[in-house]
Symmetry: C3
Subunit: 676 residues, 3 copies
Amino acid sequence: MAQYPYIMKDMPVLLHGGDYNPEQWIREKDVIWKQDMEMAVEAGINTLSVGIFAWSMLEPKEGQYDFSWLDEVMEMLAKNGIKAVLATPSGARPPWMAEKYPEVLRVDEKGNRHLFGGRHNHCLTSPVYREKVRAINTLLAQRYKNHPALGLWHVSNEYGGECHCELCQQKFREWLKARYGTIDKLNDDWWNTFWAHRYTSFEEIHSPSPLGENTSHGLKLAWKRFTTQQFIDFYEWEIAPLKEITPDIPCTANLMHIYDGIDYFTFAKHLDVVSWDNYPFWTGDARDRDVVLLSAFKHDLMRGTGGQKPFMLMESSPSAPNWQPINRLRRPGVLMLQGLQAVAHGSDTVQYFQFRKSRGSSEKFHGAVISHDCSKENRIYKEVCDVGEALKTLAPVTGSGTENRIALIYDWENKWILEDAQFGRNEGGKGYTETVLSHYSALLQDHFGVDVIDENGDLSPYSMVCGPMTYMLRDGFAEKVEAFVQNGGVYVATYVSSWVNEEDLCFMGGFPGPLRKVFGLWDEETDALDDTQHNAFTWNGKTYKAKDFCALVHAEGAKVLSEYEENFYASYPALTENAYGEGTCYYIAARTDEDFLMDFYKTAAQKAGVVPNIPASENGVLTTKRIGENGTFLFVMNSLPEEKEAELPEGFELLSGKTIKGETKLSPYQVLVLKI
Amino acid sequence: MAQYPYIMKDMPVLLHGGDYNPEQWIREKDVIWKQDMEMAVEAGINTLSVGIFAWSMLEPKEGQYDFSWLDEVMEMLAKNGIKAVLATPSGARPPWMAEKYPEVLRVDEKGNRHLFGGRHNHCLTSPVYREKVRAINTLLAQRYKNHPALGLWHVSNEYGGECHCELCQQKFREWLKARYGTIDKLNDDWWNTFWAHRYTSFEEIHSPSPLGENTSHGLKLAWKRFTTQQFIDFYEWEIAPLKEITPDIPCTANLMHIYDGIDYFTFAKHLDVVSWDNYPFWTGDARDRDVVLLSAFKHDLMRGTGGQKPFMLMESSPSAPNWQPINRLRRPGVLMLQGLQAVAHGSDTVQYFQFRKSRGSSEKFHGAVISHDCSKENRIYKEVCDVGEALKTLAPVTGSGTENRIALIYDWENKWILEDAQFGRNEGGKGYTETVLSHYSALLQDHFGVDVIDENGDLSPYSMVCGPMTYMLRDGFAEKVEAFVQNGGVYVATYVSSWVNEEDLCFMGGFPGPLRKVFGLWDEETDALDDTQHNAFTWNGKTYKAKDFCALVHAEGAKVLSEYEENFYASYPALTENAYGEGTCYYIAARTDEDFLMDFYKTAAQKAGVVPNIPASENGVLTTKRIGENGTFLFVMNSLPEEKEAELPEGFELLSGKTIKGETKLSPYQVLVLKI
Amino acid sequence: MAQYPYIMKDMPVLLHGGDYNPEQWIREKDVIWKQDMEMAVEAGINTLSVGIFAWSMLEPKEGQYDFSWLDEVMEMLAKNGIKAVLATPSGARPPWMAEKYPEVLRVDEKGNRHLFGGRHNHCLTSPVYREKVRAINTLLAQRYKNHPALGLWHVSNEYGGECHCELCQQKFREWLKARYGTIDKLNDDWWNTFWAHRYTSFEEIHSPSPLGENTSHGLKLAWKRFTTQQFIDFYEWEIAPLKEITPDIPCTANLMHIYDGIDYFTFAKHLDVVSWDNYPFWTGDARDRDVVLLSAFKHDLMRGTGGQKPFMLMESSPSAPNWQPINRLRRPGVLMLQGLQAVAHGSDTVQYFQFRKSRGSSEKFHGAVISHDCSKENRIYKEVCDVGEALKTLAPVTGSGTENRIALIYDWENKWILEDAQFGRNEGGKGYTETVLSHYSALLQDHFGVDVIDENGDLSPYSMVCGPMTYMLRDGFAEKVEAFVQNGGVYVATYVSSWVNEEDLCFMGGFPGPLRKVFGLWDEETDALDDTQHNAFTWNGKTYKAKDFCALVHAEGAKVLSEYEENFYASYPALTENAYGEGTCYYIAARTDEDFLMDFYKTAAQKAGVVPNIPASENGVLTTKRIGENGTFLFVMNSLPEEKEAELPEGFELLSGKTIKGETKLSPYQVLVLKI
């Protein structure tokens, strides 16, 4: 039973709120701010994020600060019992800074220094930019350190991107020197004898560029590792004054789920609490099942980066956003599902972007709690009020944890180097994320709770670990897998696993290299099929499709559970099971459809001794559990716009206040929360 | 009854001709020029455009002018009774100018100064370029001011594009200062507090760039407005010497129908006569109906930019052009239809690009009156001769006008800001032009004549005004609509109307803002559907499809004529009618197919008291009317490669010289011109 | 009967080998090199290409050379009876050179100087680069001139690309001066009066650029011609020391079949032996028929560039490569077919890229003789051994030639200028290569041997010459065609033929210009059809589809064999036959499917007196003949993964050692080699 501290001190409730930009309405504050507060309170909002992108209002000219409006806002929030999620303004710098100090602007991979514009586009190495950020962060912390409204630091916004300026190049070279020591070591690890690429000094190295080196996997992987370190370094720079002046206020930076540019498992270790922004592409039709599965995966992934502790849903859209290819309205009930699904997977907050639609510029039509009509009659506003009510009811859930026995591996570095690799299916990519997601979806639909970890994660708490397409083995991972299986764990491996080491050098002597004994097989070749081609295999009397990748392996001790049925490798193993030590390693030789994975994981979990949350349900009903001091909470969610049935254990349903048991109907998109 | 002056003095006939580049054949002029004249005269050609792109022949080296060949050409034209449409050569500058003065070359949006090449790519701000243009235009006007062949000035060619050089940036900033006065006013109008974008001075502003600011709608709209002003300014600069030296010769610049880069309604006010270039994508099959409808819309749009006066078809291809994705041959009869359709919609000319195919370079395979075979046996040449004959027969039409009672709004600024907006369907764009076109097509197929105007246009002459997707209201437009309906007019509005003001700031307090009373409803939300999704509504017993955009509105006085039948907004209004003052406002809440619009406009026009040109016809037959001193001319056009029937009023058919009445057969692509 | 010298002196056998990079394994040479030699010998490998991309190991720092490892490798090869295909290392320069002399890096068409990276990207004009190449080539030749292992010079690798730096611009201008003499001549030939493009001096000319001139066909054609000359010039520079020091060692540069950037017919005249790299996109299913046909065409094309002499297959992948969109495994037997097909079409070698997979970097998963498992049990290795055996058996084929009576024209300059032209179908291109390939495929499937030549080729050895889409006539080609037909040859022409001269100036007075009498028709217009449209024509009782391009021609003496059946040009000729002198010219007016071409060529070949290799076979069986001192060898190849039958002449099948005759079964992908 895991019970965690509340995210904000003295707030033993689920947080409800959103991004709030009162500074945009300063000329009409008497009307607008007043309305804001009234509607916020009525909607059960207890937190608002302020100061994001406010730099040009906080420091309208260099060195001329104006905190008067923010003082007023903080006061107003305090008066209304609302906590501030106070942002550092580094997400967007004012035009005057770009004009005076062009070095704060990024240089792109083609060497072009950019012009002022947009946001999230500063050189993180620039001493000028760092100095300006340090100064304003310090002033903010000093000014509001004792303010009763201050609840959390929201550091910058959605860190991302990269800069290729000369300052960054130099920092990259220093990072390389620190990692590799000598240029010869780097040349060997990157296999630079190939194509006459041996450098004679670190000074010859330049970041990857379409105008220069763009094929060296070693260089590209190093650049991505460096970029993650750049963000950690900058984040630490940002929070130094905050930590010094307000040591008790937690800091976060809002993440973007599967964003490719940062290894979030590494980055998130530096956050006090993980927070992230969720923007599902709701369809309003049968495709919403997949929308909900994808959100589930992202929630579990984000929780994983924070070590399975409760996290924050920092942004979500109360209505259609404005930037998706097709921005559909959310059907009634979807807002509730969207919010409570976050809680179901471990969030202690439901925050929106944005509280009020701006009147102009590029996000004015992005969904908000308050629309341009400023009306309480607005459908969205009314649904937000309903969510506010529900969250109050669910207060006992706050701080509870999860206790899952299955871990699924999703590893940023493996993704980078696997997707960058040239082999098999290049067209459309290797499909790493989609593959991990397909395993996740099968497990969740089988009603197993899943923890997502990376190769650096601890395997020992789990009964089963699934590692689809772990092409690259980080140092020490093979040893962990071996020990895990040795000690009785069930490990699930697939095609394209264990081919290269942490520097992307192939294992010599036959794949899967160091895991050959654990898998009990030799992986000789891998076929790639195009979208018109497939193979087949039969298991437990059912025939499944093999597609995309088919490994041609030879059992070396493993028991062959099923064989391919077509092509020249008919009779080669398609599925094997290897007893190793006290445990078992399964190997799925080909990519399959969801039907196989759902059937397979029922068997594999049984072997691992893991039981599902509920015995049965119609397709589209998903479940999770949170467990804490106040009990065990079973969340049951209908992901579809139609009625569904599920077989539930007995429990007290918190939202309706009724006891429920057995065969139960869920209305479209309905969420039930059973205390069991 | 509107009768206008002839485009060229003493030319009371429809003009027939095309772009002519005799300078390309100067080494063979004895043979080629002679042949040119003989074949032109035989084809009934009475005008030829000369001097376009002739700069390197007129000023082969800086300051060394050579008009001798042009003297000879002008003389030759005069001798053959052909008027010259004499061009200023600014459409393409000679290499020597780019070499010596790089400032005449454009800088693109990424800041790259271009090299010499192509055409239509000069910096319009460059003092050097302006000086060179002024000098050569002055010399041309002085030399040919009294020449009997001089009929019209063809200023430059197809103005377009934009330059981002430092000179243009500075001019842009001056334009911004003039428009906004203070930087604070600009910051407020562009809602620059968003993303910390408040400028401290105009000097910080840079034109939109993918390397800089590319999301601010205010900046992008301003840049487009400025660009239109740049072209007006440059055009005025070009014509100043022409107007001074040859005050009686009209000036034009050939436009490109729906070209996005210039607000033609604003630009065309500076032209003596509107001229434009029409290049339909003929298919030779059933798709030609839509080809003809699109040309019809463009003709009416271009006529509208000139205040409904007769205009010039300045370019059209006698045969397949060479630049379309698929350049099909035109079936027999298409050339006649292409030319007479222009006349039907108000053109007093049929001009071609080009008179003779060049022997080399990039347009040598573009359709021409004379092909490389130089043969009078060539099919195209013979069809051109037929058109020449027809135009002679139709001389009485010259100068006649149109008298339409329905106006359709197509507004460049609305298009810019709507298509740039982020909401609903971003993928594939908002479909503004396609939507206006669908309304136009429905009206034309219902046999109603249509005037196309923009929001600055006068509504008072009309009985019905249709304003599809008028997302942005220019200053004063709401008042005009209100007065129009108040005074008995029928106004047709749609989804996504009246959301923002002229600066793209949303109307607060509920859409459609200032038109809420006129529409009689509140527009709460708008759903966006993808291409696989749709809704439905039933009206007068027929069920129609709703797609793409579905507004969720609440009637506030309007009578609900039909409701949605699906999704959670089933029972919300899909079509409403609001009595306001003496008039009526219809509101179509969703995008529909053509079938609905054709049915709807029959009803709406009846309400407005407007009757169609002919009672009935098979699909594909279109009609227009021109009315002048010589009578009323009904044009009846078969847009398809198959026989069609139409029910016609009694009239004298000019082309056949026969009287026609009632049920009438039209052969493939046939045009009838009835004097009624 | 043609018998040629062996490629390597004293090697009267087919060569078998591949690219070998022992320098990548220098730290483990004791194990790896030893294994390499053992497995090479066992696989019947008698040649290995070394030194490609070895520059950074040969000259680790500027001027510091290290040949010690290569000495060792050469020694090892000699000891194992393996000949070295010794490379000059210019395919990739070391980083230190780019760092110190940026001029060795290319400037792209937008004017950006590139950074270090990749390979094959040096400025060929750069004096520094030339000096460095000359120095190292000289040292290599001096060091190994008497080495017993030295068999052939492999000059650089896959020359390609282009540089737009100022040095190259200047060289281009000099080339233009040499070609055109005066700027006026150039202006006239490029038709520069169009769009005011007349240059006043050569200094104003810049290479084609998307930022500058990109529409002038004359400029673009000149640039491509110049680029071919650049490669010739550089190649000659590279081989000068080799030729001086080792005059008896032949030199080659590996070509890339239909690579667009170099006119290989012109370039290959400078090679002692043609070599090329073949990477079929094997599918493992019915599409493999087309894969094999395409390879066949490329082999015949490459043989053609070398004047029909035996050539070298320099690279091919023993297994799936790693860079194709989908890299499928090769089914058993495919490797044998891939290798023997090369021999069938005139190759005296089967070489692979690569001998051993590298452990890291971007080609580590490219197919190789030795995989990362280093295992002789590996399927691929075993198949390579089989090929080695087969090649030994086929030693008598070495040096034999081909004796084909049909020539097919494929002309790089025609391709460049035709594909660049603007007319008809621009979308998807004109389809020149696909069209030539379709004629080739029909001929090969009819079992006719084909020589591929360009317009500069000699027509006189042939009985039939096919010239599909010879849009541009090089100087002298019309005269050759006329003489060929006059003297009894059968010439096959198609739509879009003989429109422009060598400078892309249209023939005046009616197409096909100078060939109007030979074709016996006037080509008035050409229709372009989109993919949904087609026409039809009937010949010998069978109806065929006409598509894409339909020429509208008028017979002027030619006999009309078939007419179009649809559209306004129904009854225009679709196929004509013109008796001219002693010969015949066929004209195919429209693009057709393969079925027509196969039927047509049976008739046309009969007219030309050419008989097929075998009387009949099922679809998918292909044949070629090689003829030499040791006899005539009929290669019969099953291109499909299924059993096929063919009617064969009597012969001794070399691979099985059995005599075969008549109806014969071929297993999937099987190759038979009959001595007949």
